[in-house]
């Protein structure tokens, strides 16, 4: 069971209508290392991960949906007042032709989201290493997005999300150690 809370995890403000920036941000909505991938990856892996780290995968997976909502809010606010011509100028003509102003799960280049982006190997170390890599890739993406953005309000929210990737990565690294300890009885190699 999940509950919806009618608030964002962190405020999202944008300075002006800016569909070009929205086009880039969609990378974190429906891209390979985006928030949808993250949420679905962790919430699927958790069924077969050792008990010790089920809570962590559940909680981080749930937080990722809050991040997905923040990205959606950014994209929505950056495009809601854009004319078709402005969407076209921003490189979102292909998107507009298929979706009008609706959001969709694709990356910045327009490739639809696919389950091939994520994996569940049934091997806890393999899964957790994938999760750590995913967090680091998402952190890097947020940095590239901040580098391209000239909207100071938006950058506050993007910086928050970048920091969350760092914390998640740290927690997943601890989870690896917890699993190693229980598998080996603290053997030293």
């Amino acid at each position: 069971m999940w509950l919806y809370e009618k608030k964002l995890q962190y405020p999202v403000r944008v300075s002006v209508c800016n569909p070009r920036l929205a086009k880039f941000l969609i990378e974190q909505y429906g891209g390979a290392d985006g928030e949808l991938s993250a949420a679905l990856r962790y919430l699927n892996q958790r069924y077969t991960i050792p008990d010790k780290v089920i809570g962590l995968l559940t909680d981080i997976g749930t937080e990722e949906f809050a991040h997905l909502e923040m990205i959606a809010t950014m994209v929505y606010k950056l495009t809601k007042d854009a004319t078709p011509e402005e969407m076209k100028q921003a490189g979102l003509g292909d998107h507009y032709a298929n979706h009008d102003g609706a959001l969709f799960y694709h990356d910045a280049a327009g490739n639809n989201w696919t389950a091939s982006y994520i994996q569940a190997k049934g091997d806890p170390i393999a899964d957790l290493y994938e999760d750590i890599a995913a967090e680091e890739k998402a952190r890097a993406t947020y940095q590239w997005l901040i580098n391209m953005s000239d909207d100071p309000f938006l950058n506050e929210s993007l910086s928050f999300l970048r920091e969350r990737e760092i914390v998640h990565s740290q927690r997943f690294r601890e989870a690896v150690e917890l699993i190693k300890d229980s598998n080996t009885g603290k053997k030293i190699f």
Binding site: E5, K6, K7, L8, P11, V53, I60, A72, Y76
Partner: protein, 88 residues
Amino acid sequence: MANKPLPDDYYQRLEEIQKIDFTLVELNLYLDTHPQDLEAIKQYNTFTKKAKELRQMFEERYGPMIHFGHSYSTHPWAWIESPWPWQV
């Protein structure tokens, strides 16, 4: 209600909740990998109490934050009255 401008008080109270909830998310994830840390658990419980109080005060003014029986409703059905997060 989605189109009515909201008072500053709405945003201030919301931000207070977002702040305390952030602390709780951080403590929660930390405790997932440090389940023996009594000090962190005490902090978690203290902030949980405070968060419940702030949420209750917010809901009395601006409507339910959580659905499915976790918030009370006035008449008409309040859940769909207040603005959604991307509208504020």
